[in-house]
């Protein structure tokens, strides 16, 4: 950005500067290497299971009973996918409306208050959401349609959890729409909704997609909330009232006592989860980089 210190200007041959550069370089290397280490260790730990069991058994074994040497991850993968899709299907539109409210419809004072409220919500621990779901939501669902701990509970709590993030991200992408566009629309005599639909939303589209993708990534990786409300029965659900277990819940429940191939199989599920999240994050970065066509 600034050429002040670039190599084209002879820098001052101070020993301190060398030291400083070396120190900064090592800090940054550590920060950069964390990701490498995470991937490395996850793969290292999952190699034994992959070697002893092979990839197929994680998909085609009769069930997930590590004690009896069966390791089918599919019910958990499906559980994760179902809850995530359900949560984003709920939180996406609601978060978008909430962003529109805050950015376009609320009176300025209310908008700033509302914005702060949403920011506050984004920081609430997942374990608190899970706890509330467990003591309030699950009994309510139980009254409606037993047993209570279910995929539905998981979807609702996950949707609540990712809503604030979705709303904040959508808000910031709406805020990036240049004001000239709004003035132009006003000059053309467009109403508020027409301006939003024809000008603002198309202009903010890539940002809105990024918001949705990042929120999906958050939902995929969420552990505590789903662990506490989903019932954690390993099965492919036949209705939304059936209890299910997600990949993340499985890791959290079984890591404490897992040994040998079982432990390694949990790391395999960690790698699967990491891959799903990496694909989403990459897609989010990519969609954010696509130039905006208006």
């Amino acid at each position: 950005m600034f050429k002040t210190w670039s190599s084209s200007i002879p820098s001052f041959p101070y020993h301190r500067d060398q030291l400083l550069r070396w120190a900064l370089w090592s800090c940054a290397s550590i920060a950069g290497l964390i990701l490498v280490f995470i991937i490395l260790f996850l793969i290292l730990e999952s190699v034994p299971a992959l070697r002893h069991l092979g990839v197929n058994r994680f998909m085609f074994d009769p069930s997930w009973h590590p004690g009896e040497n069966t390791f089918n991850l599919m019910p958990m993968i499906l559980g994760t996918l179902f809850t995530t899709i359900g949560a984003i299907a709920l939180a996406g539109p609601i978060g978008f409306c909430s962003a529109l409210f805050c950015h376009c419809y609320a009176p300025p004072r209310l908008a700033s208050l509302y914005g702060r409220f949403i920011e506050l919500l984004a920081g609430i621990p997942s374990v608190v959401f899970g706890f509330w779901g467990l003591v309030v939501l699950v009994p309510l669902i139980n009254q409606w349609h037993p047993p209570g701990p279910s995929m539905l509970a998981g979807i609702l709590i996950l949707a609540m959890m990712i809503l604030p993030t979705t709303s904040l991200l959508a808000q910031s992408s709406l805020a990036q729409v240049p004001t000239e566009y709004l003035r132009g629309a006003a000059a053309l005599g467009l109403g508020r909704w027409a301006t939003l639909r024809r000008v603002v939303i198309p202009a903010a589209k890539s940002g809105l997609w990024t918001a949705a993708l990042l929120a999906t990534g958050r939902a995929l990786g969420e552990t505590m909330a789903v662990l506490m409300v989903c019932g954690n029965v390993v099965q492919i659900p036949s209705s939304i009232f059936d209890p299910i277990r997600t990949l993340t819940a499985n890791m959290a429940l079984e890591m404490a006592y897992a040994v040998d191939d079982h432990r390694s199989a949990l790391f395999v599920s960690g790698v699967v989860l990491l891959l799903m999240v990496l694909i989403l994050v990459t897609a989010a970065n990519w969609s954010n980089r696509v130039p905006r066509h208006v």
């Binding site: 900064l24 800090c27 940054a28 990701l35 609320a106 027409a194 506490m228 960690g270």
Partner: protein
């Protein structure tokens, strides 16, 4: 489109966004009020200063508060220097480490998206087992440090980038070395951003559960050193509500304590953000 038609659509859209926003607000107010109503009777000075008894059903949370504080201390003691160094490199020395800073920035973006349970698996495999730290406050703190680094770095880096170019130019004109420019000029000027990042990271770390279960562990005794296992507040809530029948009352009280701490942290972040923005106007 007729203007009449437009007016109806306008009203409809307005109605929908308002009702969605109100629904959202009321749901979350329901959550808050539920926790406050059920938790407030359990929170007292004794609750904060007593040991948990009967698996946490009775007694207080003193050792859990201490463990949480120690885990956060370890986390920040490690993450702050590394975060500061990386942020300086990314913002001030980018042109000297071009390809490297690009790579680091990418890797931090990805790191920010990694689920906390994966950090937990990694922390368990690397800190607890490979480095032999076992289930300990140190392992938990180090795992959290990896988690909060992206937040710390992003916020600090933005702070440095927001500093006027004049600062660097004048320092260079005065013949200050890079090190002196940083230490006596840029770091103090970027301090509010660093503080904001610190608070954001603290909020993230204190809310974390999944990454701590297999790193800092479950033990609810008063930790005697950093090498002891210690239970964080969030894990206490999880354990009481899931594994201890009849633990809900104290789980509510603990949740209220945790949320109150987060409110304080959040208010601090907003106060700093506000001050910082008004200060920047003065400087410019």
């Amino acid at each position: 489109m007729s203007s009449h038609h437009q007016a109806i659509q306008d009203k409809l859209a307005m109605g929908i966004t308002w009702s969605v926003a109100m629904l959202l607000m009321s749901t979350f107010l329901w959550l808050f009020s539920d926790i406050v109503i059920h938790g407030i009777s359990g929170v007292s000075w004794e609750f904060l200063t007593a040991r948990p008894l009967n698996a946490g059903r009775e007694g207080g949370i003193a050792p859990i508060l201490v463990s949480t504080a120690l885990i956060l201390m370890v986390c920040m003691a490690i993450a702050l220097p590394i975060g500061l160094g990386t942020a300086i490199l990314l913002s001030e020395l980018t042109h000297q480490f071009g390809w490297m800073s690009n790579l680091i920035r990418r890797s931090l973006d990805v790191l920010a998206g990694i689920p906390s349970i994966v950090f937990g698996l990694f922390g368990n495999a690397f800190f607890c087992i490979t480095l032999g730290l076992g289930f300990s406050i140190v392992s938990g703190g180090l795992t959290l440090a990896c988690m909060v680094l992206p937040i710390l770095i992003r916020s600090t880096e933005e702070g440095f980038r927001a500093l006027p170019a004049d600062y660097r130019l004048s320092a260079a004109a005065l013949g200050l070395s890079q090190a002196s420019t940083l230490i006596s000029l840029l770091i103090p000027a970027a301090m509010p951003a660093m503080l904001a990042g610190f608070i954001l990271g603290l909020g993230r770390a204190i809310a974390e559960t999944a990454a701590l279960i297999f790193t800092s562990g479950y033990v609810d005794r008063m930790p005697e050193s950093l090498w002891d296992s210690g239970r964080a507040l969030s894990i206490h809530i999880y354990d009481l509500s899931m594994n201890v029948p009849g633990g809900n009352a104290n789980a509510y009280a603990t949740a209220l304590v945790l949320i109150t701490l987060l409110f304080i942290i959040n208010a601090g972040a907003q106060a700093i953000g506000h001050r910082w923005s008004s200060k920047r106007v003065l400087v410019a």
